[in-house]
Structure formats: C-alpha cells, structure tokens
C-alpha cells in the first residue's frame, strides 16, 4: 500500500516535468515517411494508424489552445506516405491546412497527393477534387481551376446532386458568397471531428456576415443614388423598400451603418474575410515544408 501510494505520488510529480517537456513538443524528431516506411518492417499500416491517432490528438489539443499547428503537415505527410490509400487524412489535412493554418499550398499539396494515391473507387474520393476546387474558388478566386476540379468531383458517382450545377456556375464565373456557403455546408456535413466542425461553422458564420454586408452595401449605394446621402440607419433601407428586412447577424450581434462614412459592419464580427492571393505563403509561420 505504501509503495503503491509512493509510486502514485512520484508519478504525479513527474508529470509536471512531462508537461514542461511537452511544450518543446516531441514531434521535432518525427522522421519522414520515406524513412519510416521501410523501417516499419511490413507494419506500415499499423504505424500509419498510430500516427493518424496522434495527428487527430495533435489537432485536438492545439485547436483548443494556441491554434498553431507547425507539425500538422508533417504528420499528415507521414500518415499518407506510410499508408497512401488511407483517404481520410488527405481530406482532413486539406481542410485544416487551408482553414485553420491558412497555408493554401500545403493544403493543395496534401489533396493532390491524395488525388494520385487514393483509389478512384473509394466512396469519398470526390471530396479530394472538391476541396481542391474549394481552395481555388474560395481563397484564390480562380474560378477556371476551381471549375476544372469541381468537374472532376462531379464525375464521381458518390458526389451530391447539386455539384454539376455548381460547376456550371463556376464556368459562368458567377461567384456569389452563396456558392461558397454551399461548399462550406458540404464541408461541415462531411466532417466528423467535433473541433473541426466548430471551426467550419465559425467560417460559415463569417461568410454569412460577408454576404450580408455585401448585400447591405449594395442597397446602401442604391439608397445614396436616389437620395444623395447615406441612410441614417439600416432600418431606413427597409423603410425605403430596398430590402425586405435587415438580415439576422449569425454571431448574435447586429448590423449597423456609419451614417457619415457609409461603412456597414457587424457589432460582433469586425474583420472582413481575408481572400488569399495566389502565391501568398500563408498567414502563419512555421507550418513545415511542402
């Protein structure tokens, strides 16, 4: 009993050290998949599964704390090199690297690797070109490329019904936030991870704010054209019959207008959506090499 209590106490003490060491993060020594594959002695699938569990844990622990993921790409790369046929890591890596890390090139790299490796007969295969298309459309506004990927996704038997319609819209370069929302909602449906789902929901709300503000700005300009001044409040737009009602703000705030500058904004969500330009390396540093 004494010994058991003793080891328990000592273990508790040691955990303080472990926690301190973990801040340095043991993933610094993660070897590349190319080395691990032969070293796994035929257990590459087992190893891939273990690293996959680690990847999900890594994401889960950082999404709730600092939201920095310097090793995420490397982890996904190791998993997908050890087991190239494992579809889900590509999908997960593709979403997280674009949405959370803000590194489009890495996201594309992961998804394209999946495009080449995963069997086309996999029921979720279409998600890979779908998310590649999403990256091109949503972040880069490159509708031509997006349409090409979406066409690829639309050819797959597992794809949703509305996809061919989207392709047509993309070819018409008719981008509206509504199209982006449709994609995000599909992404939300397809994701199982709770934390990631929450991040996507957040992004959906942001796009809704973006869409609403765009709409309100258009109505504001219309108002100004006829009356020569910005409206005093958004309610004036409704009274003028330009919009049926002020849209509901998804973050629980309200939309307001600055009568002097004409700026339309949300009381809860201040920043407008960032659009990534092609070739931009991403907002955060230290995300690993592509």
């Amino acid at each position: 009993m004494v010994l058991a209590a003793g080891t328990y106490g000592i273990q508790k003490n040691l955990e303080v050290f472990h926690a301190r060491a973990r801040k340095i993060e043991d993933l610094k020594y993660l070897p590349s998949g190319k080395f691990l594959k032969p070293a796994s002695l035929g257990y590459q699938n087992l190893l891939a599964s273990m690293f996959w569990v680690k990847t999900v844990g890594y994401f889960g622990s950082h999404v709730l704390t600092d939201r920095q993921y310097p090793y995420l790409y490397q982890l996904v790369d190791v998993v997908t090199t050890l087991d190239p046929l494992f579809e889900y890591p590509y999908e997960f890596g593709g979403i997280v690297l674009a949405l959370e890390v803000g590194h489009l090139q890495l996201s594309d790299a992961v998804l394209r690797k999946g495009l080449g490796n995963v069997q086309q007969s996999h029921p979720r295969y279409w998600y890979l070109p779908f998310f590649l298309g999403f990256n091109s459309m949503f972040y880069r506004r490159d509708f031509q490329t997006a349409a090409r990927y979406m066409e690829m996704a639309a050819r797959h038997p597992g794809r949703p019904e509305y996809l061919p319609l989207l392709v047509a819209k993309l070819y018409a370069k008719a981008y509206e936030p509504a199209v982006g929302l449709q994609f995000l909602e599909e992404m939300y449906r397809s994701t199982e991870n709770r934390e990631l789902k929450e991040r996507i929901a957040q992004r959906i709300r942001e796009v809704i704010v973006d869409r609403d503000i765009q709409l309100l700005e258009k109505s504001r300009d219309e108002y100004k054209k006829t009356r020569g001044a910005f409206p005093e409040s958004l309610q004036a737009l409704v009274q003028a019959g330009i919009i049926p009602a002020i849209p509901r703000e998804p973050f629980g705030g309200r939309y307001q207008i600055n009568a002097r500058t004409g700026e339309v904004f949300s009381t809860k969500f201040k920043e407008r959506l960032q659009i990534y330009l092609p070739g931009e390396p991403g907002r955060r540093e230290g995300v690993g090499k592509p």
């Binding site: 035929g42 699938n45 087992l46 599964s49």
Partner: protein, 254 residues
C-alpha cells in the same frame, strides 16, 4: 507416427511455457486498445481496428515463433532428455520435424485465438466481415511458419539467445530485401550488384506474405498471388528444414 508423437509432445511442452500466455495476453490487450483508439479518432474506425488486429497477429506471432521456437531443441539438450530420445530408434530428422510440427501446432492455436478475437471485434464494430481478412491471416501464418523454420535452423547449432537474435535479424532483413535489390541495381561495382542480388534471392522475401494493406483497403488480392506466395513459402521452409537436418545430423552431443 513418431513425428506426430513428438509434435504432440512438443505442443504440450510449449503450451506450458508462460511466455506464450503473456504474449497472447498483450496481443489481446493491444487489439482491444484499437477499439478505444478508433473511437478517439475520426473517419474509418474499422480501418484502425483492422490495422491493429492484423499487425498484432503478425507481430506477436513473430515474437512467439522466435521465443518459443529457439528454446525447444536447446532445452532437450540442456536437460539431457535428447539422449533418451535419440537412443531410441528415432532418426534425428524425425526428431527435428516432430519439433517443427509441434511448433506449427502451437502457432496455429495461438494465431487462431488471436484471429477469433479479431474477427469478433470486426464483426461487432464493422459493417460486415470481409473474407479477404482471412487470406491475410493465412499468409501471416505462412510467414510465421517460415520464421519458425529459420529459428529452428539456428537453434540446431547455437544458443537460444543467439538464435533468437539471428531469427529476428532474418525477419528484419526479410522485410527489407526488396530495398537490398534496389540498392544493388544502383551500384556501379558488378561485384556488389552481384552480391546483393545473390543475397536478395538467398534471403526470404517476407513482403511476399504481406497483404495486410491491400486487404484493409479492400483491394482484391488474386488467388494466383496467394498460390505463388504459398508455394514460395513452402519451398523456402523445405529448404531451411533440409539444411537444419544436415547441420543437426553432424552435431555431436556431449
């Protein structure tokens, strides 16, 4: 008949070995762990369970094959029981083959226990049972049989510790041998490329028995491949056993 008697006896002796049960216990623990890990992660939980299951069956099978395999002949010599056996009208090759048969039986029981547990897990958590998983387990068993033959070969002339190390070494090289070939093809020196290709064909290519990845992803494995792999395994085992008999025949027991 004598072979069967020795085999049954060897089996009885092996199942008394505690190491067998501890390894089996850890194998089952590891497979159960995969259920928890599968729950923690996202997407294709069944894949995690299958990866862990097949990996565990193979990994612990190898450990059992080596650790139980290397000790059996040595124990007979150490306890001097080998004199009473070999003084009877039993040829040495019969003794060896009996030992090998007993080990195969032990492994068969052991793999069956693990496989049964695995099948239950897959049936419980999966959407259905893929018959191909049994193909993978069958080839794993063949690989184990080959490693056992190698372990027996080494244990015919050296100590259990050394033969255990040698057998594990062959296991490692057996999974790397295709790299050996690639290395040899890249070499400029004709001697080195000759040597590596000689070693490549001499050493067992254990990747021939590894269809775990294909099976988990539902890629069909043609029966033709399984047939050739089985034939390869059987030939290799026969060769190894012949060599073992040759070594064992000449050995002097004092």
């Amino acid at each position: 008949m004598k072979i069967i008697a020795i085999a049954v006896n060897t089996f009885r002796e092996a199942v008394r070995d505690k190491i067998l049960y501890s390894l089996l216990f850890f194998a089952l623990v590891m497979m159960s762990l995969s259920v928890i890990l599968g729950n923690l992660t996202i997407g294709e939980q069944i894949k995690i369970i299958e990866d862990f299951g097949l990996g565990t069956i193979s990994l612990f099978g190898v450990l059992i094959a080596v650790f139980v395999g290397v000790g059996l002949v040595y124990k007979e010599i150490e306890r001097r029981t080998i004199y009473t056996i070999l003084s009877k009208p039993i040829p040495r090759w019969v003794f060896l083959l009996g030992k090998y048969g007993g080990l195969l039986l032990t492994l068969l029981v052991e793999v069956s226990v693990m496989a049964a547990f695995f099948v239950l897990l897959v049936l419980y958590y999966g959407v259905g049972f893929d018959f191909a998983l049994l193909k993978a387990i069958g080839l794993i068993y063949l690989e184990l049989a080959l490693i056992t033959a190698v372990a027996l070969f080494f244990s015919a002339f050296t100590t259990p510790t050394l033969s255990g190390l040698f057998a594990l070494g062959i296991f490692v090289i057996g999974h790397l041998s295709s790299d050996l070939k690639i290395f040899g093809q890249g070499a400029q020196d004709p001697f080195i490329s000759g040597l590596t290709s000689f070693l490549y064909y001499l050493l067992p290519n254990l990747e021939n028995f590894n269809i775990k990845g294909q099976v988990v992803h539902g890629i069909p494995v043609p029966w033709e491949f399984i047939g050739w792999s089985t034939l390869y395994g059987l030939l290799y085992i026969t060769g190894t056993l012949l060599l073992t008999v040759l070594v064992f025949q000449r050995r002097d027991f004092r």
